[in-house]
Symmetry: D2
């Protein structure tokens, strides 16, 4: 039997890998995704899906513009994928309220309030939008563009779109080894050997194995997040709310997704009782009536954290055709379109903004204006 050969082999079938596959398949590249478990089954399905370009960043040089460009890409992707696959990302408009409980917390919001798409609401105005909010807030930054989607469905839409454009998807297929082979690569997998011109490692926290195997000292740290879902039998929540890294996001099926803890270097993928207790406490701080709601589910996921808070998006410093796209921390859903597009552009030779190339490149050492590791 002849060995299959691809233009691009993507390792990891989460939303990052699926987005890359979609952008490359649109360029008629022969793409394959290799996923060790089920598509989107790990960090992607654990995410809440806020497209929080504004809520997530205090730094406006590299990451915010990249995030904002990704947020805007979602608008066209949403329509494209729906047309192509009938899959609807379940985009919920309305945006997000970032709460302040003190003048100090209000001051912390000043940098994002300077953006034209962000508006300050005092307590009364905020509670007009979300009457369920705790009465003791000072106010909230209203980030009207920070809408949200349902991550696993978006991942499905992107991978199914890629598939319809010719990509192949290998689930339950573990890549054991990537080896140089002439101008290209050999992939040894649990289901046989494949040839490919290019490789993209998009395996989230599990990318460490490939950094190591491919001779790089890089390391991704897991930051475990624990979440719960509650059934909202009260008035609908028209906006997401956010405070102190915790959030409440309304889903279309009446559920509120509430998260998330941050446990550094914790590789376990189950929620702990401590974690759930903390999540519930924080949610009630934002919307007290959440405590009365019906419990539905709990889960956990691992966010891939880099040493400086920037993702790795770029080529291996020495091995041409071998790319990394990982380390998106808590913003993998938001950054998936811009990451897919950037990898595509790097691969096909289209221009990419230099500040992003520099900020996200694998071989970077340090930066003048490194973002404070606030998230």
């Amino acid at each position: 039997m002849e060995t299959k050969k691809f233009d691009v082999a993507i390792i990891g079938g989460g939303i990052i890998g699926s987005s890359i596959a979609y952008y490359l398949a649109k360029e008629k590249r022969k793409v394959a995704i290799f996923e060790a478990q089920q598509m989107g089954g790990k960090s992607t399905s654990a995410a809440a899906g806020m497209l929080g370009a504004h809520s997530e960043y205090k730094e406006f040089m590299q990451l915010y513009p990249f995030a904002r460009s990704s947020q805007l890409l979602y608008k066209e992707l949403y329509e494209e994928i729906k047309e192509l696959t009938t899959i609807d990302f379940e985009k919920k408009n309305g945006g997000l309220l970032k709460l302040a409980y003190s003048e100090e917390e209000k001051r912390d919001l000043e940098s994002i309030l300077s953006l034209s798409s962000v508006e300050w609401l005092d307590c009364t105005e905020a509670r007009e939008k979300v009457p369920q909010l705790a009465a003791d807030i000072v106010g909230a930054a209203y980030l009207k563009e920070d809408v949200h989607i349902t991550p696993l469905i978006a991942c499905n839409g992107l991978s199914k779109g890629a598939k319809l454009l010719g990509a192949e998807i290998y689930e339950y297929t573990r890549v054991l080894r990537v080896e140089k082979n002439g101008m290209g690569y050999v992939l040894k997998t649990s289901q046989g050997t494949f040839l490919t011109d290019n490789v993209v490692v998009a395996s989230g926290v599990w990318s460490n194995y490939f950094f190591q195997q491919l001779g790089l000292p890089h390391e991704i740290i897991p930051v475990k997040g624990e979440c719960v879902a509650a059934l909202n039998d009260g008035a609908p929540l028209h906006y997401s709310v956010f405070h102190d890294q915790f959030y409440i996001v309304p889903r279309n099926n009446n559920e509120l997704v509430i998260g998330a803890t941050k446990k550094w270097n914790d590789w376990t993928e189950d929620p702990s009782l401590d974690g759930l207790q903390e999540v519930i406490k924080k949610a009630k701080r934002m919307i007290p009536e959440v405590g009365k709601m019906k419990w539905k589910r709990a889960w956990a996921g691992l966010r891939p954290q880099t040493y400086d808070g920037y993702p790795f998006i770029g080529e291996h410093p020495e091995m041409k055709g071998l790319y990394f796209a990982t380390g998106h921390q808590r913003n993998g859903i938001l950054l998936a379109p811009a990451t897919g597009k950037m990898i595509r552009d790097l691969m096909i030779g289209s221009p990419v903004e230099k500040r992003w190339v520099d900020a996200f490149k694998v071989e970077r050492h340090d930066f003048m204006h490194r973002e404070e590791l606030s998230n």
Copy 2:
């Protein structure tokens, strides 16, 4: 403590009761829903959600026009509820293909093919729309208006809409007894006593208890349906497909909902192994590759069947202000808007088409043109 009093008390929080509540709340009636378990938790959540006005009926005098009017009402309800509550019914356009495997089956489709919104596709045309279809079909009736929604979400949307307009919702509240009380009624429930001017019994198969308690000989027969969901990891399915009472309906989250058996007078609410075996077999007859797909879930629900296949929508023959809205058989989701509107119109004195009043009234005995009990 003073006893609470309502204009209308609705017994049953499925999609029928929720629709009635919504239409009445819009008219500023003070409405309460009493649901013995969770809102939408029984037959509503078990349904596939096809709005099959055309696929379901061979009779065009009463039920088809009623069903068609209900189908059309969904278009405006969809927008209204989304605006009011942010809840999106997850309407999937595309419509439905009703398959024929022989000339005889094709002839059975003739009556619906005479409708302007229905089109005949030969085998090739049908497989252009749905390449996954079995190759041995003769063709299919394409019912482009028979789109589908996600039933539990539609039920949530309607009840939440009603609530925002003032309705009260009592979950886990069993109505034990309805008693005449002057011009109105007393409801004795597991959670206390309530007064109301009007009562609507909308409890599906569980309406029998109230027929009996209120002196009527009517009986609803359960027709149990068993379903499975599969994960579609192949090409998306852009249409629902239907054959011999079985169907495959694509959901937005990549799942295919497949159903359903018909077990007369079976009150158990769990799927049986026999049932699932039959469902899988029928699904593979329509789309062979379904057999390779991943199993997700199985469930069952009870359809409320009347002796003549028509629902009971109307007033008790002797007790003014006491209404029934039950017996919708396998079309409760489709008929919910028209039922809600009809009960509203009967109650507020707006005109209702006489043929529907006559066909669905509780005290009917027989009909000249009774639909054959094909479903």
Copy 3:
């Protein structure tokens, strides 16, 4: 078709109804159980299964001896049912530690410490038995006889035992009405009419409907309890632990069952976020490392509470052959055997201890030595 006729019709297929059925079927009575949902699916399956004759009672005149006799009956039932059905109740020996965090709490334990089967352990001794215990306990009462079982399995065993001895089980069958019929009764159910000489109402909190329908003013109040299960990946827990109405009970499959809140007059059957937060907090107070454990599930159940804390076990004051067996509060599992035996003895005319007849009879008004409503 002839109407079926039974010697005894039991309404309610939880552990109380199943135990009654078993004891009566052993006496060759022709028994039927009518269960509105699934056997054991409500309060029985929500229970932790501690046979806490000693941990639960401060009163030693009526309830403790009754509970203790029931605890002893489990020893023979366990063997009998295993022999007959192969079902093993999963009895875990070891018993229970009732913790004291202060001298005052220790004093509260004095009454049970006077019992010969109960032993005081100081902090060191208690932590020899359960090294995971919080270090700041003063000590614990060690109730070595208060072992536990898995409630749903015990219920299954009893009902399957009854069935093998001739009982009939009607699941998903709601009893709508009990009517006097000559010397016996007619049961109108959702699945037809049945005749019976005797009726036993054993429907937990849902018995209210029958009290009302049968002309009695009695009322059962639900006391909702919320629970969680954690996966114990640490050292095994050889004992149950208990403090301030909360408990941690080890199951055979490595899970710890942790409960339970007490919410008066709450009829909802889902756990709330508030409830789970409280359960976790209380569990960590007893065994701090529980916080690190993996979350598994959450659920809730309704305990049937009477006005005076005693169950109703006895005949209707005016209707011969009509019995009640409900109101066991949080001790339904423990009291099931003694309740089954007492109903059997009342029905077949065997002697029953007078103090129990008097304490539990339906028509009682008040008692000289009423137990303080501490539970």
Copy 4:
């Protein structure tokens, strides 16, 4: 931080790895288990747990005696682990009936019928033991020693036992690489580096990665099995039944575990609709009333198959201190104790039966009396 060092590092936390850990921990070896996901979460939890020494083998030179010795070891392990950890393997006595539907099938049973512990039952006798059996059987071989246990619980018991004796358990820890290091080995894992004198690869089908990395051409083929569980609301099943590689096994909680398909080289870990249809059909062939039972769950697991049907239990031909224990096909539960004991004996230098050493050694090529690959 100093690198941790163990006497033995076991890769894989299923029942094979857990048994090895237990036997070595009893010998005071410093043991660690590295499990990529949760302990017992893959093939172990998918297994039915029949200890089918007699039902599984037609060959009596190597595997049957090994299997039989393992079956006998369970008797002592059962008591030991219960004493040490309180965990009860849920052993169900009764044994197994291997059905014959024709004289030919009866002849196929002749070899096991020659064993003293196996008895032939004609149709009447078989149906006395299991009245639910299909009426058209010719008879059954009654294998009274082939009892069954609950696999995940046995795995928990063994690993918890090992832990109490000093073993360390690393869940969610993927071993990326095993490297020679002086007289011992270095393990590079997703959670850091460890040193060890000995390594045991016990990763079922996922052992392939280590064969490859360690320079061996061996390959394990997955044979996927799909299963369903039904709720037995009829008479209890006192025996397991077996026919044509399919089985029905009663669990203590009233469930029947029914399996299993055999799909060669299928790495997906979800059940397919085809698979479930086949399982249900085969189960009904044995016990027709299974079709009426309530559906509970479906799942799948991957059996590790070697080229000749024998497991690999032994040392790497060139790397001292590096062992394999994998390839147990559908008998991993049954063979776990004997495998654990054999690895222990090889490692500590105790005698092991030569025929087993030869039959299971990693570097074997072929055998004179190779078992026919019937399973």
